[in-house]
């Protein structure tokens, strides 16, 4: 099947890309001034991870919309939303983790109540709730509708996270934390490494999500297989004792 070939290729590319990013980031690119030794190297994975989380939630949102729209309603969009949100939660977790690791030497603390950080953490919890909702047992279609609507509402928070920095600035004169990293002058090998980071992490996202999606599909088709058996068994119930 070409589908699985594309998937395999994506996986290999993602792997190579991430490895290359690591290599470039760790050994090739220069240390930046103003950063504690070597920590700038987190630059090549931390922002891409945050980006992937956004992409994942966006995908979950889109799939949920498609699921809710009667003309395009198909259970595969629900699967997609679930798979994407799951990967999104993982990457949000990674963003939080790398951010904390970065923050410790840079700001001297693991955590601070910066709006961006807080809203990111909230996003994490928000989608944990979404996944908990998905796990509540029930009819697949019912679960799909419920979670699709939850995904719509949850996504409203994503732009809030994204804009929280600028809103904070525009609405609040003295930002408590200067997110100076944003002004860092990125050049040469650093820029290329960063770009590679974005691309390869996005590929990794695609690969992971596709796998999760396929797995969900397999589980469903297994259930469909099981359904035939279940139907026979149920019908036999009627014939049994009589």
């Amino acid at each position: 099947m070409t589908g699985s070939k594309v998937l395999k290729a994506t996986g290999i590319l993602a792997l190579v890309g991430v490895a290359a990013t690591a290599w470039l980031g760790l050994w090739v690119t220069p240390d930046a001034v103003g950063f504690p030794h070597g920590l700038v190297r987190l630059l090549y994975i931390h922002p891409p991870m945050a980006w992937v989380a956004f992409v994942a939630y966006g995908m979950a949102f889109l799939s949920s919309m498609l699921y809710l729209w009667p003309r395009t309603r198909h259970i595969r969009f629900d699967r997609m939303a679930g798979a994407s949100a799951e990967v999104g939660v993982v990457f949000t977790g990674l963003t939080l983790a790398t951010g904390s690791i970065w923050g410790r030497p840079t700001w001297g603390v693991w955590w601070t109540w910066d709006p961006l950080l807080t809203t990111t953490a909230l996003l994490f919890v928000l989608y944990l709730g979404y996944l908990a909702l998905r796990r509540v047992p029930g009819d697949p279609e019912v679960v799909a509708r419920r979670s699709a609507i939850a995904a719509l509402i949850a996504f409203v928070d994503v732009p809030v996270v994204y804009f929280s920095v600028s809103w904070w600035r525009s609405l609040h004169q003295a930002p408590t934390i200067d997110f100076t990293g944003r002004h860092l002058y990125v050049h040469g090998s650093m820029a290329w490494t960063l770009l590679l980071g974005f691309v390869s992490f996005t590929l990794a996202y695609a690969w992971l999500t596709a796998h999760r999606y396929r797995l969900a599909g397999l589980q469903d088709s297994e259930a469909d297989e099981g359904l035939r058996y279940a139907l026979d068994e149920r019908r036999a119930e009627g014939l049994g004792p009589a």
Binding site: V125, L126, Y130, L133, R146, I153, A154, V156, W167, L171
Partner: protein, 222 residues
């Protein structure tokens, strides 16, 4: 749709008028939240006065949670969702009606609470108009989210725990914006709160729209 909304809101408010749950239970609960959390965060007035807006909105948030739980508890017990679906009412109307009733209850609560906060924390309720506008828009947003998630969770055996989990994080930006707007207004610069107010208005519009659109699919399910 509006006729149905009116009918549903009337019914919910009539049940409230009879059972007095919002007045006798939710208002004292909100007061307890403010007092208690004020205590937990330390009795230091210099800490608490700036935090008064935040505490106020947390109390409102938790009360909104109770109000929505109640709003679905009065629907026929186990069959809440079945009942709503078989009722022949327009789902959008149901949504608007139930949200409207919760908004009405919460606004009364907020008025009472604001008095309390003013006294307790020595907060000055300046910029009254902005404060009131923030209350209304924020409450509409909160109630809309609450009712949507209330419907999502209703009929599930785990609704007691699921609803708070879903509601709280989504309501957080509303909380944040409302707190900021109040902070500005209380600090004597109500115009600084206008940006947050418009953000709240956006939230309210978005959530109400989602509710109107999504309540149909939500109830029609299963």
């Amino acid at each position: 749709m509006l006729r149905d909304a009116w009918l549903v809101a009337g019914k919910d408010l009539r049940i409230e008028a009879r059972s007095r749950v919002a007045l006798n239970q939710v208002v004292p609960f909100a007061a307890a939240v403010i007092l208690l959390f004020g205590l937990a965060l330390g009795p230091d007035r210099s800490v608490l006065a700036p935090a008064s807006a935040g505490l106020f909105w947390i109390a409102v948030l938790l009360s909104c949670l109770l109000a929505t739980q109640r709003s679905f508890a009065v629907e026929s017990a186990d069959g809440a969702r079945d009942g709503l679906r078989l009722s022949g009412l327009d789902p959008a109307g149901i949504f608007l009606g139930k949200a409207g009733a919760v908004v009405a209850e919460l606004l009364v609560l907020e008025a009472l609470l604001a008095l309390g906060v003013a006294v307790l924390y020595g907060a000055h309720l300046t910029g009254g108009l902005v404060l009131a506008a923030v209350c209304v828009t924020a409450t509409v947003g909160l109630a809309a989210v609450g009712i949507i998630y209330g419907a999502v969770a209703s009929g599930l055996r785990v609704k007691e725990t699921l609803l708070p989990l879903l509601f709280l994080p989504v309501a957080a930006p509303v909380l944040l914006a409302a707190t900021k707007a109040w902070d500005e207004a209380l600090a004597g610069t109500p115009s600084g709160g206008l940006g947050w107010l418009s953000l709240l208005a956006v939230f309210a519009v978005v959530y109400v729209t989602i509710g109107i659109v999504a309540f149909g699919p939500l109830l029609e399910e299963s």
